[in-house]
């Protein structure tokens, strides 16, 4: 009986040895900390299981108004590389501050982007919501790939191979969005959301022609307290006029922002609420919008179903 047990134990040890080795390797994995859920998703698509990727923002959190916690400081202290969107998406540059205070390297994923300039409050501001077109998302992916290659040169082949696959998925996503949007007659392509997050999307897919193909929203480019951010009575009046003049079939709330303003707008204009769009953050784990591609897909489906005749 004892001999039988010894054979079983020997075989079990032989079988478990690779798993133990893998676990030991995992303990040595570099850590990448991203400010937003979108950037974390891009990094995961490229890194695979070779790196540990963490996101400071939880699904549904607002990057404009986010206040870092002591837990965030601990997460960044354990990072080998930090990634931020930049263009002041992270209100008061909280990610840059966290990385600087912890002495960590910071990569800005919108580097080399030609940003959309939005005129607001007498100033011209670079719109930070660039991920809303797959083409810009491709730039994010390229910048992240370069950052990961510098962090872990031995993994460069893997990162580039995964990035190439993901970039082609983004290409297909772009083509699919064009095909879906084509179901909405041009005169019904009116996109009204809570805040000015959808400028890149509107410009790329030809929404809001009467607003220079930029988004229509009661709240400015940020929900924070920056110049041109927040809601003003003048802005509210302009949005009401735009909705009435354009005959918007529906207006949309966003997952990261209190829906109060949009509900008020809906009451005031008599336009129905089409549903909830993912904007500055992706969906929670297990939801259809838990990845970038899923988030874009669900947004487009909701927009198309709400606006088509």
């Amino acid at each position: 009986m004892l001999r039988l047990l010894a054979v079983f134990l020997t075989l079990t040890v032989l079988l478990l040895a690779p798993m133990v080795m893998a676990a030991r390797n995992a303990a040595r994995q570099p850590v990448v900390v991203a400010s937003t859920t979108q950037i974390a998703d891009f990094a995961r698509q490229i890194a695979g299981d070779r790196l540990i990727v963490k996101s400071i923002l939880a699904p549904g959190a607002d990057p404009h108004t986010y206040q870092p916690t002591p837990d965030d400081v601990q997460i960044v202290l354990g990072a080998d590389l930090c990634l931020e969107n930049g263009l002041h998406l992270e209100g008061k540059n909280w990610m840059a501050t966290l990385a600087r205070d912890a002495g960590k390297k910071l990569g800005t994923v919108t580097r080399d982007l030609s940003p959309l300039m939005i005129g607001t409050a007498g100033q011209s501001i670079s719109d930070p919501h660039a991920w809303f077109t797959p083409r810009n998302a491709a730039l994010y992916v390229n910048n992240i790939t370069m950052a990961l290659e510098q962090l872990d040169p031995a993994g460069a082949f893997e990162y580039r191979a995964r990035a190439k696959l993901y970039l082609q998925q983004l290409r297909v996503l772009d083509a699919w969005i064009r095909e879906q949007v084509n179901h909405i007659p041009p005169q019904r392509r009116i996109l009204v959301t809570t805040h000015d997050a959808f400028n890149y999307f509107c410009r790329e897919y030809q929404f809001n022609p009467d607003n220079d193909y930029l988004s229509i929203a009661p709240v400015g480019w940020s929900t924070g307290s920056e110049v041109g951010a927040g809601m003003t009575p003048e802005r509210h009046r302009q949005v009401v006029e735009s909705i009435r003049q354009a005959g918007a079939p529906a207006i949309f709330v966003e997952t990261t922002i209190n829906p109060k303003q949009i509900r008020e707008l809906a009451r005031e204009t008599g336009v129905r609420i089409g549903g909830e769009l993912y904007s500055d953050s992706m969906g929670s784990a297990g939801s259809a919008g838990e990845t970038y591609i899923g988030m874009m897909r669900e947004n487009v489906l909701l927009i198309v179903q709400s606006l088509q005749p």
Binding site: V7, A138, A163, L167, Q168, L170, R171, D174, A175
Partner: protein
Amino acid sequence: MRIALTALIWLIMIGGLSLYIHQRDQRLPPAIQILTTEAASMVDYTLEITPTFSPEPDPFALHGDPSASATLVVRVGERELFRSEQALPAGKTVSVHPVAGLVVGRNELYLWATPPLSEALMDHAVRVRLLQGNQEVFDETLWGLSGAKVAGTIAFILERSAEAEHDH
């Protein structure tokens, strides 16, 4: 006796699993079998490529990749047989001659081309013909659906014919 039986069952289980994994990885896609002669040297081959669209550089290419600026690429194994970095006219046939790198035995042509983003709602195709002199070796069409890159592998085997064996 029990120990031997336990070890035997364990060996059968693990061995069976290993055998299955090994055989699964050995499977290769079916190839087009073509007979050719040794006398017909590789320089007798001509490759004709006809895209139904005007290939252009891919805005979704990985920066720094050697193929980032290419519009159409054909490879035989690791050898690049043809590369265009210009927008080719739709429907125009590009001839590649000679087709270097072909071997007697199994060959694979890998081709990709990037349709314009402005035609994202359309399906695209590239017709690929391999000719030995005037004789057609294969005629295949690769497809890319709804704006996706057209990419595919054409596998074929070039064998020595009995006549060629006899000549030697």
